[in-house]
Amino acid sequence: MSHHTPVAKRHGDGKAAVGDVGRPPVAWAVPGILFFAVFAIVPLAIAVYLSFCEWDGLDSPTFTGLDNWTRLSKDSEFGQAAWLTLLLTTISWVFQTPVALLLGVWAAGRQRSRALLSAIFFIPLLLSTTAIAMLFRALLDPNFGVIQTIGPWLGIDPNVMGSSTGALLVVAFVGGWQFMPFHTLIYQGGARQIPEVLYQAASIDGAGMVRQFFHITLPQLRHTMTTSSVLMIVGSLTYFDTVLIMTKGGPGTDTTILPYLMYRTGFQTYDLGYAAAIATALVVVATSISLIMVRLSGFGSMRSTREGM
């Protein structure tokens, strides 16, 4: 090992010196590929294999063919969980995107106290998900939480976590509250990249703030929006900890989204084969959605937003 790395380095250096494109050799990707293979590809392959087995975690898995998959297609609980996951993902996107976009564009400017406020907005991202979930749980306790005093004021029933709609909205809100700063950061970076000249030209033509936003900022942020949306959607599809701590999938099963159903099936019922089938289905759905979004938005072809400039 000790000899290979320097050799590879020297090889790379040599190439660059000749004036080639200067792309690093494949060897540089080896640690990354190895890491990805050991911690992502291999477990994924095992999960796919397990989805064709029955396994209680103690004896060896027994191959049962398509049993888990036929069961999955008929399972009304899986159907409900898939629907709730879709709903949660949509609500999260609709809730987070506009706010993160506006905050990000604002944070890209040079107003007074912008840095300070941005730092404050960033705090939720630094807290642990568990801590946030427990915090909100305490705030929303119907008998002792803040919601009991504030709720009636705002016209909210203090028992918000006890109602089906309320619980799902709370889960979406808490997730949004936590991850919005992250997306704000992405939009801030995107907005900073927009060339100043575009705005100067627009002002000369007499475009106001709002028109500039819709005709310059938004189109220029197209790719940023794809990045943020893919992350947001995949994040919502794999959202788990908040549900576990705040609602435990309840009331009834009304916040049992796919990842939580997977956890319950795998680590409470110990039906690990069926849980693997749910997990595999989730991976397929999440990957397809990301691919479709990348394809539809033209993000994949990497056309620049600055064409013709």
């Binding site: 000790s2 103690l58 306790d141 008998n143 976590m161 019922t269």
Partner: protein
């Protein structure tokens, strides 16, 4: 210059890689033996990690003084216990001895022949045979065989109440269903929640099902289900139980918010101690919970009684549900079976029972009665002991009595019933169909 750094770099790199290789080797070796019970002369014992671990630790220390084979106690934090045990038992580093709830909680291990059958050992050993209350010994077994030795206090479910509220409204704690209905009306009229219920945790709801079914149909109904007959859910008593639950919810017996109240964070116990709720059906650990969270209330105003009778029910009102106790079981793959059994025998000793009593627990040993006067609360300890001793039947909590593959769907269905998502009829159908 460059070559100099390069030469030096190689030497450093060599050292670094040598170091890394050693670290990796160390890690791998660690994986092989870490937590494993196969070390020479050591027994690994997994125990549910809570405040009571100190009692087991003391017993381990005493045992290690005289024994050649040493016991190593591994406390696993409570919420992770079941999962950690499950993963460990399927791996080469399984514990030799482990804490469990008996019944369905050990069924998968019995099925895969991972446990030592202690039936004959206990029969031939006077200390173990006469050491414990018989109902406790059988409650944790499976199909007439014994796989565990009791090692902690008993945890029957009792009806706790706020004495101050009952005095204020001049009523007595309910003994019959009529009393209970009267109490619900009185407290509702006064704006007090009749029963605190941590519905978001699901298992507190289960306790209501357990007692109602026992009072309505007797312990045989659940026994049939526990023995593997899912048709047992079709017994009319189950439907009546589910309907009774629905009636209680509809008349506001648990207040309006119970779906978002939990036990774990202390919301339900606080309702009782703050006088916002009048009663709370809970395991006997409620006493120590209250003692920890609201000591004033626990000492002065916390009352306890048995679950009332249900009109038209055939179950004996002296029956009890809950967790009879916790047990130590022995892994069949252990290399030190005799030493492990010796360690289990120490659980029947007077000094161990005394240590449990001092910790506020009520031991399940036959000699416990005389020691209870030394308990932190002798009245509570004695009442609890007598309740269990006199009970014709002690039904193990359903979620422990059934295997996880039935218990988890059961908790989900109960939660749906309590949340009003399913009707009592749908509950019965769903349980009959559970795989």
């Amino acid at each position: 210059m460059r070559s100099g750094i390069f030469a030096q770099g190689t030497r450093t790199t060599r050292w670094v890689s040598a170091g890394a290789a050693m670290a990796v080797a160390g890690l791998l070796a660690g994986c092989g033996s870490g937590g494993g019970g196969s070390d020479s002369g050591t027994i690994t014992a997994y125990v549910y990690g809570d405040d009571a671990v100190k009692v087991q630790q003391a017993a381990v220390d005493t045992f290690n003084k005289t024994s050649e084979v040493k016991v190593k106690l591994v406390p696993v934090p409570g919420s992770d216990y079941v999962n950690k045990l499950r993963s460990a038992m399927g791996s080469p580093s399984a514990p030799d001895v482990f804490f469990n709830w008996g019944g369905g909680s050990i069924k998968p291990y019995v099925d895969s022949e991972d446990l030592v059958d202690l039936t004959s050992t206990i029969k031939n050993d006077a200390t173990l045979k006469d050491g414990f209350l018989p109902s406790i010994m059988t409650a944790g077994g499976l199909e007439g065989k014994v796989y565990g030795v009791p090692m902690r206090g008993m945890q029957p479910v009792m009806l706790f109440y706020n004495k101050a509220l009952f005095a204020e409204h001049r009523i007595e704690p309910p003994r019959t269903w009529e009393d209970l209905q009267g109490a619900i009306k009185t407290f509702k009229a006064a704006g007090v929640i009749p029963f605190a219920l941590g519905g978001s945790d699901k298992w507190p709801e289960l306790m209501w099902m357990e007692y109602l079914l026992d009072r309505i149909g007797g312990p045989e109904v659940f026994k049939r289900i526990q023995d593997g007959d899912t048709e047992g859910w079709g017994d009319p008593a189950v439907l009546k139980t589910a309907r009774t639950v629905k009636e209680l919810i509809d008349e506001g017996a648990f207040g309006k918010n119970f779906n978002s109240v939990d036990y774990g964070s202390g919301a339900a116990p606080t309702l009782l101690s703050k006088g916002k709720a009048a009663m709370h059906l809970m395991g006997s650990w409620e006493y120590s919970t209250q003692l920890g969270k609201a000591p004033e209330f626990a000492k002065k105003d916390l009352g306890w009684t048995a679950f009332p009778t249900v009109a038209g029910g055939v179950g004996d009102p002296a029956n009890v549900v809950g967790n009879p106790t916790n047990y130590w079981s022995v892994n069949a793959r252990t290399k030190h079976k005799d030493a492990a059994i010796d360690f289990l025998k120490a659980m029947a000793s007077k000094s161990y029972a005394q240590a449990l009593v001092d910790n506020g627990d009520v031991p399940t040993t036959s000699n416990a009665a005389s020691m209870l006067s030394g308990s932190p609360n002798p009245q509570f300890a004695t009442d609890q002991y007598e309740m269990v001793q006199k009970a014709p039947s002690f039904t193990l909590s359903w979620d422990q009595a059934l295997e996880a593959q039935y218990a988890t769907p059961l908790l989900t269905e109960i939660s749906k019933l309590f949340a009003g998502k399913t009707t009592p009829e749908q509950f019965v159908e769903a349980m009959k169909a559970a795989r």
